[in-house]
Symmetry: C2
Subunit: 262 residues, 2 copies
Amino acid sequence: MLHVSDLSIQRGYGVFDFLRAVKDVPLFMEDHLERFKASAAGMHLPLDKSVDELGKIVKELLRIAELPEAGIRLMLTGGYSSNSYSFSTPNLIITCFLIKAATGADFEKGLKIITYEHQRELPHIKSINYQMAVWLQPMIAEKQVDDVLYHKNNIITECPRSNLFIVTKDNKLVTPAHNILKGITRKNVLQLASTIMEVEERDISLTELLDAAEIFLTSTTKKILPVLNVDGNAIGNARPGPVTRNLYGKFLELERRSLTEL
Amino acid sequence: MLHVSDLSIQRGYGVFDFLRAVKDVPLFMEDHLERFKASAAGMHLPLDKSVDELGKIVKELLRIAELPEAGIRLMLTGGYSSNSYSFSTPNLIITCFLIKAATGADFEKGLKIITYEHQRELPHIKSINYQMAVWLQPMIAEKQVDDVLYHKNNIITECPRSNLFIVTKDNKLVTPAHNILKGITRKNVLQLASTIMEVEERDISLTELLDAAEIFLTSTTKKILPVLNVDGNAIGNARPGPVTRNLYGKFLELERRSLTEL
């Protein structure tokens, strides 16, 4: 519980990170904890624990929780403010709970998305500001799609909780470079892909998006999920494409290696 | 206290309003409660109390609190979300606390402000998203100014917690019309001014701002405060101007009438 004077409640001010664990093994933990630390610094929130200390707490939580598949959420808020506005000592909250990440069946089903003009504030920081994403949920439900993709001045950026990649018709993997939150799964996919194909981090226009051979999203819980429809337009042959499937296989393999090497 | 699963803490999602009372008499309460209701509706948050019911709670809180000058904050959050993302039943929180609104001495001292390029998301809704405002506080402190004024594409909008007015050199009162939260004090000042001078609600450029004869801010706690310096440039003769002073007097008179007529 947090007192209502906390700046997260008063002013929507805080940062977080989210990682996944299988049984008691956290995945890509150091990347997540380093990003959490960077988010805190970027938001002027002092973090009084080191990445090592945070890692120990996460592992201890996982050991106690005994879950088959767990999500761990680290939050750092603006703290209990005496005047509802000024910074105070941040509150650190770490929670651990049962989750169900995307499955092979989710991969085969794929996603339908719509586009929406919006640019997140301070996009490189994983802040708790998802006002627009939550606000858009009734529209997403009404249009019977799975998610929304933000764009601004004709350039696409990201979905509220995932990064987007396209496979071009000349077989390059391309993902936006600017005004986004750089995901940990995004980083892993870029590394895996770079061994088998040409990879580019650069601006993608809405036109290039719709002309892509394949599109997919990446996130900690989505892993890799094909996007089969954008704004009512089928992408490729409206089924998961060969490059997406290949990268998905490589990502699952990386995940298995990460789980056993510890 | 709120459980950390609340969408305000998880995703910075909620609305609020803030009103002021002298002893047990709330000022401009109906305007504030109507705006709170509109903010809730705009954010897809069902409010299960009527304006009348909220008014009774506010008055009861004031009666119990016995404060010489009180702030009342009404908050409605996205509620306890099972998945940290979807809407749930909103949590309504009403708090009452001692405040000290701006005084005559604050009026004489005036304010220094700086400008910053930013446009608030969903500006017409009084949401809890003050991420940018809180984030800018270290810069405001470093530059030894009192507040920040947002602008976008050369057009000014508002300060994080107040509206801005200019008095032009040909003695018109002008205030931004678009992409702002319409304050209750702003509304009162527009009404008071319309009986004595020409009033315009329209776009104001940064150039016109610096060329103003007088500038002032309005808010529930600021009432009317002169802006004497913008980005290091003195405004007028760097002292509270005659129009601002006249309107300030009229506003204090309105406040006195509101307190005694109930």
